[in-house]
Amino acid sequence: MPVDVGPRAGPHPVPVTLTINGMRHDLTIEPRVTLLDALREYANLPGTKKGCDQGTCGACTVLVNGRRIDSCLTLAIMHTGARITTIEGLADGDRLHPMQAAFLEHDGFQCGYCTPGQILSAVALLAEKRPLDDASIREFMSGNICRCGAYKNIVDAVAAAGKQNV
């Protein structure tokens, strides 16, 4: 449910309610806390990664109302009432989300740090019904950088998951 943060809030910590992976989280945070820091430091969900912290690398990608965004470039208080999905919310119990399974199957990572962001971005790519040729996948995954250079296998994983009609 949307929470009225009032016409003005802060600069001291204020109540901010976020709906993350279907669960309500009542946080008390300053308005300056980014969505990324709220997830990692206050909601105890460290699966979302902090890479560059300036909107370049995509490691912090989450879904807000189904759309992929960089959680480092937005404030948590701007997203009261929204549906937030992080990597922790994709699997169904022990059953991996098909995109997670495809990344495992195709070895779509090396160190794994960018992987949560890659997977959420890839889930959104399929939801956006982008073409699934290699060039299009590369273009529409361009917001996610992999410094290990696992791109070839990431593209394979996204294409394979796409063909399964995820």
């Binding site: 802060g10 300053e30 909107g55 965004i69 960089d70 971005s121």
Partner: protein, 283 residues
């Protein structure tokens, strides 16, 4: 990488926003998509004490086409523009710029009004607005004023928007023969050169051209001498086209950086302007 402390407000009307702006003066900042402002706040290049989120104000989003004129709300996201069939048809120059800007995550949050009000010298839309000869609608406490895109942009991160005003929308005449082509920095995606062209054709010859360029100078500019030289040119005549596009950055203090020195950038400006002209003629 943590901003200084600030108070956050989310007004539900422009009047409430004006009241907050009046109360806090230069200590207030308007927040649209936040994709330029929030990074600047993290670097403490901006330290507002009051952050005014415009997302709660109705009527600032959407694309309207009426009587051959396109109007776009300032809070419309890049992704909305990049997916708009109407825009693809009526203003391919803006449709292409929206698709070439940032990456999918950035396009899902950033807004056209935020990008233009920020006055970044590498703003893709700035060239597009100049080529479209767009009109900006600016609201203030005393009412609404309209300003030509060409006079709105003053310098690097500098516009005529006063601290107590809000850019609420842009509008322009439909321009079906138009295109945006950019030479993107390979890492940042910002334009080393961004060329926007709007054409009127007389058969297979250009009768009138408007050319906007971004990324090259300290703010976007119209390439006036190229516009004049393009009149009467048949774009299929490559020699005539390239001749008309030569010197597109003449008289401009061209930016220089490791990825593109001033001489190279000027040369690429001519190349990308001519490519944009060709792209605009494909119809």
């Amino acid at each position: 990488m943590i901003p200084t402390k600030f108070e956050y407000a989310k007004p539900s009307s422009l009047d409430e926003a004006f009241a907050l702006l009046a109360e806090h003066g230069p200590d207030a900042k308007l927040l649209a998509g936040g994709h330029s402002l929030i990074p600047m706040m993290k670097l403490r290049l901006a330290e507002p004490e009051m952050l005014i989120d415009l997302a709660g104000i109705p009527g600032l989003t959407g694309i309207t086409v009426r009587d051959g004129r396109v109007s776009i709300g300032a809070m419309t996201k890049h992704a909305t523009l990049a997916a708009s069939e109407e825009l693809r048809q009526h203003a391919p120059v803006l449709f292409e710029a929206a698709n070439a800007l940032g990456d999918p995550q950035v396009r899902n949050r950033g807004t056209i009004g935020g990008a233009l009000a920020n006055g970044d010298p590498g703003c893709d839309y700035a060239a597009v607005m100049l080529a479209l000869d767009a009109t900006f609608t600016v609201a203030g406490k005393g009412g609404t004023r309209e300003e030509a895109a060409s006079s709105f942009m003053v310098g690097m991160f500098e516009t005529t928007l006063s601290p107590e005003e809000v850019l609420v929308g842009v509008s322009f005449a439909a321009a079906p023969a138009s295109a945006y082509v950019k030479y993107a920095h390979p890492a940042s995606g910002y334009p080393l050169v961004g060329a926007a062209v709007v054409l009127s054709m007389n058969g297979d010859a250009i009768s009138e051209a408007r050319v906007g360029v971004t990324g090259v100078g300290d703010h976007a500019f119209r390439a006036g001498s190229v516009e004049k030289a393009l009149a009467g040119v048949r774009p299929s005549d490559r020699t005539a086209l390239e001749g008309a596009c030569a010197g597109s950055a003449a008289g401009v203090d061209v930016r220089s950086e490791p990825a593109a020195g001033a001489g190279y950038r000027s040369a690429m400006c001519d190349v990308y302007v001519s490519r944009a002209v060709l792209a605009a003629t494909r119809g």
